[in-house]
């Protein structure tokens, strides 16, 4: 909503400081997105009086003027405008003045004659496109008077961000009312230049659905969609351009001047938040303008020239021949006011907000009118709007009101709300006196009706505040007008609740910290993408076909991140993410959600360093294995890691697959390294605390043994066999190295194991260990395809 400072000044009958006004509006809840100075740079332009005009001796099109600008003497001014006339006044820019276009005037000679300033056109001052001649001023002001005292064209535009609950702020009157309450001053409608009133003391109230107004049937046959319909007939108007003050004011708030009649209706909308519509009576068919339900499939060509197909849920305004407008949204071209129009029907009606919202959404047609009706205009303010509109039309287009009716089949009153004074303190934490409460409510336009006792007030709210429907709404108003900043900041004792952080949330925090400890960066990827599986959850209204499903794996997003890094020549990528995945439940209904951890590794295992010639190893499967085990321990500690064909799996105690880790087969750039990835469900389990193991107090003994393993013999099998044979003295078994060569045969390999022996209570003896090693080797060689390698 664009608001003009001058318009507000008209309501408040006082000058407003722009910055102070913006601050007050912000603190009252009307966000000010911007304050724009309109027509800046005019403050040094003055009224100049042209004393005489004579031809330029050296140029046919130029003239020499003597200009009186209030200072002593006369200025010689060379002027090229055809309309410069002696004895008239024009805007004058002296030497040294910068005009709005950015030009600073200098003393110069034009074709041999010196010029000491400039008489300005409207365009040169940024006041319009008229460049035909200089701007003639119709004023009694003395030469030298600042132009802005003669032409009140400088203004400030406040661009307000009006919240959807405050339709009253979509009109200048509503904004003025807020400022009046803040400043503690009265407000009333600004005077219209040259207006003598509307002559409409009241509109003829009719409780039927339709009636006649000067021979035209008007009304509402759709009371649910259009509760009230006022119609005024004005005959004998002369449609033409609006006067400059009106056009300029509309331009100040970003509206385009069209003609005096349309401008009057727009003025009323911007001033009182009542959208109105003017019909050319001569074009109305069958002397009828009535609101009714649209027929399904009914067509109407709206003012924007688009033919629209209506549904039975919409309200139209119709004449005998069909729709002449979509009620509350946009009029139709067929009854549009034109230069030839002489007789008008002015409509000011009230349309049901939810209906308007559905209609404009269905038609894809949001207008200034629909925007306002959707938020709620003042059902009880239609007559004031009609009077204002008539006053403007009579003042700017002439004519005469012949009849005025107010069709309101089921009249109602604005709601009455009971306000309990103690409840105010309960919610706000500060006591307001009854006198303060009354003062604030009255400033909003409420009537505080009776006070059965001091703890309960009956409040009749004004029609322009459809957001005020119950007690809490009034309490917010009191807080607002009292000033949010006036309530103390006083941190008081509180009771804690019973909610505790869930095991899953705790697990996610642990997982994050653990993955950071592994040297990975956390990524956030979009959880939207293409379908990944049969049970992918589909969006009804996706942003794009590529983002039509909810993700089923977090890893897919990290793979995309790897590709982004590659595309930017980044080779080393180590990322993890904890995020939600979704799948449709087999039985329908609510889709399943689970938290997953995913990680990717590719590129250098450690940053390159010059001491090793800038070379180092890349991540391989064994880095992945270690990361996966660490991840399982953090995220899903009850799961078991198993080898599978492609890498590793994690299985829950019930045997359900809860994670996997593998090398990812991607289309790599030539310089990229292999990519490894893992994905794992995060279990919402509280891990049992670590049990401390007493530290050994006796020395250990070690033996290395090199075994030649057959193709089917795994390290895990060897270690298991060793442990079984080694008994209590065998503390641990590690793998030291693996060796393959052609000499060993294609499928055989030599693996060196290191066995650690320790007795908890004494030093183990060498002979004892040698003896045990013999037995261990015997058991391994007997049960597995494994031989001691001797060479």
């Amino acid at each position: 909503m664009n608001v003009s400072r001058r318009w507000l000044e008209g309501f408040l009958r006082r000058d407003l400081d722009t910055a102070d006004t913006a601050r007050r509006l912000v603190m009252l809840g009307a966000g000010v997105d911007a304050v724009e100075a309109l027509n800046p740079g005019l403050d040094r332009i003055v009224v100049g009086y042209v004393e005489s005009v004579r031809p330029h001796p050296n140029a046919d099109r130029l003239r020499l003027c003597l200009v009186h600008d209030g200072a002593e003497g006369m200025r010689n001014v060379v002027c090229g405008a055809p309309n410069v006339t002696a004895g008239k006044k024009y805007p004058f820019a002296r030497i040294g003045v910068t005009i709005p276009g950015g030009i600073t005037l200098e003393r110069r000679k034009i074709r041999g004659e010196s010029s000491e300033g400039m008489l300005c056109s409207a365009r040169e001052l940024g006041l319009g496109q008229d460049h035909d001649g200089i701007l003639e001023l119709d004023t009694d002001a003395a030469p030298g008077t600042p132009l802005l005292e003669v032409l009140p064209v400088s203004d400030d535009r406040f661009v307000l961000d009006v919240t959807p609950n405050r339709p009253d702020l979509l009109g200048h009157k509503g904004v003025a009312r807020e400022l009046a309450a803040s400043l503690g001053v009265p407000y009333r409608l600004p005077e219209i230049p040259g207006a003598t009133g509307s002559g409409l003391a009241s509109l003829r109230r009719v409780h039927e659905v339709t009636t006649q107004v000067d021979g035209v049937t008007v009304g509402t046959e759709d009371v649910a969609g259009c509760a009230r319909f006022t119609g005024v007939v004005v005959r004998g108007v002369k449609v033409g351009p609006s006067p400059a003050w009106l056009a300029r004011r509309l331009e100040a708030v970003g509206a385009r001047s069209i003609n005096n009649v349309v401008d009057a209706t727009n003025w009323v909308m911007l001033e009182l938040n009542h959208p109105m519509h003017a019909y050319d009576l001569a074009k109305v068919r069958g002397h009828t303008v009535v609101a009714r339900r649209a027929r399904a499939g009914e067509k109407v060509t709206t003012l924007d020239g688009v033919e629209r197909t209506l549904t039975a849920d919409m309200t139209v305004i119709a004449d005998w021949g069909g729709a002449v407008g979509v009620g509350g949204v946009m009029g139709a071209a067929n009854t549009e006011v034109s230069e030839a129009t002489t007789d008008l029907l002015l409509e000011c009606a009230w349309f049901e907000p939810a209906r308007i919202r559905r209609t404009r959404r269905a038609l894809g047609l949001s207008t200034d009118a629909s925007y306002r009706f959707e938020r709620g205009v003042d059902l009880w303010g239609l007559a004031e709007a009609q009077r204002r509109c008539v006053e403007l039309i009579l003042a700017t287009a002439g004519g005469q009101v012949t009849d005025a009716v107010d069709v309101w089949p089921e009249p109602t009153n604005p709601p009455r709300i009971f306000l309990r004074v103690p409840r105010v303190a309960q919610v706000l934490g500060a006591e307001l006196s009854v006198a303060q409460i009354e003062k604030y409510l009255v400033a909003l336009g409420c009537t505080v009706l009776n006070k059965p006792d001091d703890s309960r007030l009956a409040v009749d709210v004004p029609g322009w505040r459809p957001d005020l429907v119950e007690e809490i709404d009034l309490i917010e108003e009191l807080a607002r007008l009292h000033g949010y900043d006036t309530f103390p900041i006083d941190l008081r004792p509180f009771r804690v609740g019973q909610v505790t952080e869930s095991a899953l949330d705790q697990a996610i925090t642990r997982v994050r910290a653990g993955m950071v400890g592994q040297g990975l960066y956390e990524a956030n990827s979009l959880p939207l993408g293409p379908a990944e599986g049969e049970d992918a959850v589909k969006l009804l209204n996706p942003l794009s076909a590529e983002e039509a499903y909810l993700r089923q794996s977090v890893l897919a997003g990290l793979v995309r991140a790897v590709e982004v890094n590659w595309s930017r020549q980044v080779r080393d990528v180590r990322l993890f993410e904890v995020g939600t995945v979704f799948r449709n439940a087999a039985e329908g209904g609510r889709p399943g959600e689970a938290s997953h951890l995913a990680a990717v590794l590719t590129g250098a295992r450690a940053p390159a360093h010059w001491t090793t010639g800038g070379k180092g190893d890349d991540f391989d499967m064994w880095d992945l294995e270690s990361l996966f085990r660490a991840a399982v321990a953090l995220a899903n500690p009850s799961a078991k890691v198993q080898v599978d064909a492609a890498g590793w799996l994690a299985l829950s105690p019930e045997g359900r697959k809860v994670g996997h880790a593998r090398r990812l087969e991607l289309a790599l750039p030539a310089w990229a390294a292999p990519v490894f990835g893992l994905e794992l469900e995060v279990a919402g389990a509280v891990p049992s605390p670590v049990r401390y193991q007493p530290l050994p107090s006796t020395p250990a003994a070690w033996r290395d043994v090199n075994l030649l393993l057959g193709p089917a013999t795994t390290a895990e099998a060897v270690i298991t066999a060793m442990r079984a044979a080694g008994g209590e003295l065998l503390e641990g078994v590690g793998v030291q190295s693996e060796f393959r060569s052609e000499a060993l045969g294609a499928e055989r390999r030599a693996v060196q194991f290191r066995l650690t022996f320790r007795a908890p209570d004494r030093t183990v003896r060498d002979e004892e260990v040698d003896d045990l090693m013999g037995r261990i080797l015997g058991a391994v060689e007997q049960s597995l395809d494994a031989k001691l390698r001797t060479s």
């Binding site: 103390p488 900041i489 609740g497 994050r512 993955m515 040297g519 956030n524 009804l540 010059w610």
Partner: protein, 382 residues
């Protein structure tokens, strides 16, 4: 028989060797040490070997003198050796280019969004708020109706919603899904739901506020929770909008909670998060689920309040929306709004992170660019 005088002379000669030790190189020092102090044939040892043959007085005198000379020699050798080591180190240092880069290791980092979220959660933990979370798939009832969004109301325009291509939820659906799907329902989030209500269509939650509803439905007041999570809007991805973004919400409900508590709690948070000198201001605003509703601004961290491009000259940064929980919301959650009052607030940790780090494009948060994420490797980790 050894001659005491001669031994004295030899000892004196050894004493004279102490001084020159300070100028020897490493090899000469080692040779001198062997020559003078060697256990088997060192000069001192040779003298001591003679001791048994001396008369008792001579034995005492020569023994004492030999000990003194030995200590002096040993000290001189040790001092010289230390000096040589220091000299070698200094020479090494002179030869080294200490501007050559050190050996780095990969270090991890949480996402800057996580860092901000965890910091915020931590501050509210200290104010007695426990973390609560909820599902990202919601129904119209939880996301809108329970939160007092009227149907067909312009307030819905602020929440352009992504709906799921699923049939409307049937009554009692929640319970069935809980029992049979095993994962993914709010049961796993610790907030069971066994009620039956007109749920409406399935959608991606547009804010974290439905978790308020879930918490209130299942926990009698007092309630104090802080709710981080991801929310979805049908917004085109651009520099300032993402279709999925982070939010943090908070809720306090108890007897006697007022607007004063709201202001005090959030002002405390602002000082804890943005610094103790931070000024706050509260402006009226509108949210369907709170009334009175407010927005909180903090003094601009860049200019301190005097106005700069970062705050568009206003001196203030809009940080969060808040308000007293609307009585309808409490009633919808089975909480008596006459007895209990409460406040709620919500903010966008990504916007806060963008302000904090001077990031102008939210899309950077979603790319996983290592060079971007690596810049926060020294930041706050949870």
């Amino acid at each position: 028989m050894p001659d005491t005088a001669e031994l004295e002379a030899r000892l004196a000669a050894l004493q004279a060797e102490v001084g020159p030790l300070a100028t020897l190189g490493e090899k000469d020092l080692e040779a001198a040490e062997v020559r003078l102090l060697g256990r088997k044939q060192g000069a001192l040892t040779e003298i001591l070997k003679q001791l048994p043959g001396l008369p008792p007085e001579g034995k005492r005198a020569i023994g004492a003198e030999a000990n003194r000379v030995k200590q002096a020699l040993e000290a001189a050798v040790a001092a010289r050796r230390e000096a040589l080591v220091a000299e070698a180190r200094a020479a090494e240092a002179r030869a080294q280019d200490r501007t050559m880069p050190g050996r780095d290791r990969w270090t991890g980092a949480v996402h800057p969004t996580t860092a901000v979220m965890e910091e915020i959660v931590g501050i509210f933990n200290g104010l007695g708020f426990a973390r609560a979370t909820g599902p990202e798939v919601e129904t119209e009832w939880f996301n809108f109706r329970a939160l007092n969004f009227p149907a067909d109301h312009p307030a819905m325009d602020m929440h352009d919603t992504l709906y799921l291509d699923l049939p409307e939820r049937r009554r009692g659906d929640d319970r069935r899904a809980n029992r049979s799907s095993g994962v993914g329902d709010h049961e796993r989030r610790g907030v069971p739901d066994r009620r039956v209500r007109p749920e409406g269509r399935y959608l991606m939650r547009t804010h974290t506020s439905p978790v308020q509803v879930r918490v209130l439905l299942h926990n009698p007041p007092p309630v104090r929770v802080v709710i981080p999570g991801w929310v979805y809007r049908k917004d085109t991805f651009d520099a300032s909008h993402a279709p999925v973004f982070a939010q943090i919400e908070g809720l306090a409900v108890d007897e006697g909670i007022s607007f004063v508590d709201l202001k005090a709690t959030l002002a405390h948070f602002a000082r804890a998060f943005f610094g103790s000198k931070t000024a706050v201001r509260f402006r009226p605003s509108f949210f369907p689920f709170t009334e009175p509703s407010a927005e909180m601004d903090v003094s601009c961290g860049v200019c301190g309040g005097s106005g700069c491009p970062a705050c568009k000259g206003s001196g203030w940064m809009e940080i969060l929306g808040a308000g007293m929980v609307h009585p309808h919301v409490l009633a919808n959650c089975g909480v008596d709004p006459e007895r209990y009052t409460g406040f709620a607030f919500g903010m966008g940790p990504q916007r806060i992170a963008m302000n904090r780090h001077g990031i102008h494009d939210i899309r950077l948060f979603y790319e996983g660019d290592m060079r971007f994420l690596g810049q926060f490797a020294g930041g706050v980790t949870p």
